[in-house]
């Protein structure tokens, strides 16, 4: 890590703090900017403003931070493991699997915790499906993404199947959530999330050196002393868990796992020991920023944040496709 990288990390952290604070200050309510600042720095004051900041906005921003960081890290890990620059929870169908899990759990009206386990189960099943498809076809880039897209279609059809046969009031809330939404998460889940997401991300960091070597392929990694099977399992499971929890809390937010790692590779390089932490911070920044946009663009109404990331992601994807001659060389 040289001077340039230290500077990058300092500025990333700085930006994160700025968007974090800013995000607490804007919103659809009548609270003025200066009052928001007052309440933000006086958490013990009383009144409606304090409640808006500390009970509504703060948990939501926190959620954005966790989900953004989590999904960006998962993107890095999936791209490295599958040696494919287009892999991410969304394009691999993992988010779709988790969404299906949650939809099933909503129909059966289970508790929050089992909802999380349904999401986790869905994401794990779909990642293994994608993995199995890829393994049969020797991890070619097209099959992998095609497999993910097909799974996504399949899962979303099943989600709509469930919707169409269940009562309207059961599924009303879930439609917004499916588009990716930071406002509908339960506070109990948000309180639990940091204790899961941060250790999981740390686990990914610990394996970042192995991840570097694994990008050379399973066999070469073995030749260089990495127990490929074991490391792959650990990383796959951890990343699937993170995805599952994130989808459970905030729905299907696409493209973060794609844009952020790509952008950060341009900034810090491809070494995962730098790329993972950089993507982690940048992912948090990106999602919080998108959420600010989602809240202010059509004030006083709100957009689901997944719509914003989807628009950004789609445009980015297109530009990337048109500009890059060597899609493989990221």
């Amino acid at each position: 890590m040289d001077k340039k990288h230290i500077l990058i990390f300092i500025s990333l952290s700085g930006i994160l703090v700025i968007v974090f604070v800013l995000s607490n200050l804007v919103g659809s309510s009548q609270l003025t900017f200066s009052k928001s600042i007052y309440y933000l720095f006086h958490p013990n004051a009383s009144g409606m403003g304090r409640d808006i900041i500390w009970q509504i906005r703060f948990p939501r921003v926190m959620l954005g931070l966790l989900v953004g960081a989590g999904l960006a890290c998962c993107g890095v890990v999936f791209q490295g493991l599958l040696r494919n620059p287009l892999a991410e929870p969304y394009t691999l169908g993992v988010s779709g699997g988790a969404a299906l899990g949650v939809s099933i759990s909503v129909v059966f009206a289970v508790s929050t915790i089992s909802m999380a386990s349904f999401a986790f189960l869905g994401s794990t099943i779909s990642i293994f499906l994608v993995y199995a498809i890829a393994l049969r076809k020797r991890f070619s880039n097209t099959t992998l993404i095609l497999g993910g897209v097909i799974l996504n279609f399949l899962f979303s059809s099943l989600v709509f199947l469930i919707f169409s046969i269940s009562r309207a009031e059961d599924v009303h809330g879930i439609v917004l959530w499916l588009m990716g939404d930071l406002s509908s998460a339960q506070v109990s889940l948000i309180k639990f999330m940091p204790f899961f997401i941060f250790p999981a991300i740390c686990l990914l960091f610990i394996f970042s050196r192995d991840l570097n070597i694994l990008t050379l392929g399973e066999e070469k990694a073995r030749h260089l002393g990495v127990d490929s099977n074991k490391v792959k399992k650990v990383l796959f499971l951890t990343a699937s868990c993170i995805t599952g929890i994130c989808v459970c809390a905030s729905g299907v937010i696409g493209f973060i796992g794609l844009i952020v790692p790509h952008f950060m590779r341009k900034v810090v390089g491809v070494d995962h020991r730098l790329l993972l932490p950089a993507s982690c911070i940048a992912g948090a920044i990106f999602l919080i920023f998108c959420d600010i946009l989602a809240r202010v663009i059509i004030q006083p109404l709100e957009l689901p944040v997944g719509v914003i990331t989807g628009i950004f992601g789609g445009i980015f994807f297109l530009c990337f496709l048109l500009k890059s001659k060597h899609l493989e060389l990221f």
Binding site: G80, R83, N84, P85, I206, R209, N212, I213, T215, L216, G217, E219, K220, R222, H223, L224, G225, V226, D227, S228, R265, G269, V270, D271, H326, E328, L329, F330
Partner: protein, 268 residues
């Protein structure tokens, strides 16, 4: 050092290696040759601890290699596969450094000794000037040298190479094999190399194993193995074997169909 006993292995249900035994001693420079489909790469993958034997055993220093941890194996044996795709834009320096990590614990950091070894392997492979370049920017010859440098960074006692010179021009073919030969002579590095080019195998290897249909057809010095009888039998093509005037080793010349016909006409 490495003992292969009655090895049988293959993929799924297809048996490729049918009962092969041989042993490698310290300081050997062994070439494995044979026609396409004879099982060269399969044998290579078995001795590099990727493919599990169906039957028989492979012992490294009298230990079953399937029981050696990848980490411990990588500290002693470097493997250079035939094809290596590098999907991300690692720099040469980053790429070669990966060869050191097998010697480092998970929480151990890079030390001065590791930097010294990095410099050494870059120097001996003539790649010092490329260190900041990205892997995908390199030419085929430079790239192969860097891959070799990564292997040397593991500080191996046994080096396994699968066709390290295919697709390279003669300058790089000779440069790479000369380098390996020097390490073999000076540092007693044991080398096992799969080669397609019979003349390269003849010039560089002390011992040659000729494979045919999953079995060892002949084994011995280049003079013993590379006779026109053996080659014509295994490769099913007409060749002429002469003595190379420079190193006095066998030199294999091909005969085209046109020339074969012309020869026949003269005879008649």
């Amino acid at each position: 050092m490495l003992k292969v006993k009655n090895l049988i292995c293959g993929y799924d249900k297809r048996k490729v290696i049918r009962d092969i035994s041989f042993s490698i001693e310290k300081g050997d420079f062994i070439g494995i040759i044979g026609p396409n489909g004879a099982g060269k790469t399969t044998l290579f993958r078995a001795i590099s601890n990727i493919l599990k034997p169906w039957n028989g055993s492979i012992l490294y220093k009298d230990k079953d290699i399937s029981k050696i941890l990848p980490r411990d194996f990588a500290c002693e044996v470097a493997v250079i596969p035939q094809i290596l795709e590098i999907p991300f834009a690692f720099s040469v320096e980053e790429f070669v450094s990966m060869g050191r990590f097998t010697h480092l614990g998970r929480f151990q950091t890079w030390k001065e000794g590791d930097s010294r070894i990095l410099e050494d392997v870059l120097r001996v492979t003539f790649t010092s000037s490329l260190r900041k370049r990205k892997m995908f920017e390199l030419s085929g010859g430079e790239r192969q040298m860097v891959i070799l440098a990564q292997g040397f960074a593991q500080e191996p006692v046994l080096l396994l190479l699968d066709e390290p010179t295919s697709h390279l021009d003669i300058f790089h073919q000779v440069q790479i094999l000369d380098l390996i030969k020097n390490l073999n002579r000076e540092k007693e590095l044991t080398v096992v190399v799969v080669l397609h080019d019979l003349n390269l195998a003849s010039s560089y290897c002390d011992k040659i194993i000729l494979l045919d249909e999953g079995k060892i057809f002949r084994e011995g010095s280049p003079q013993e193995v590379l006779t026109y009888q053996n080659i014509e039998k295994v490769y099913k093509t007409i060749v002429v074997v002469k003595e190379n005037p420079i190193n006095l080793k066998p030199y294999i010349l091909l005969v085209t169909e046109e020339e074969r016909k012309r020869k026949k006409r003269y005879k008649n």
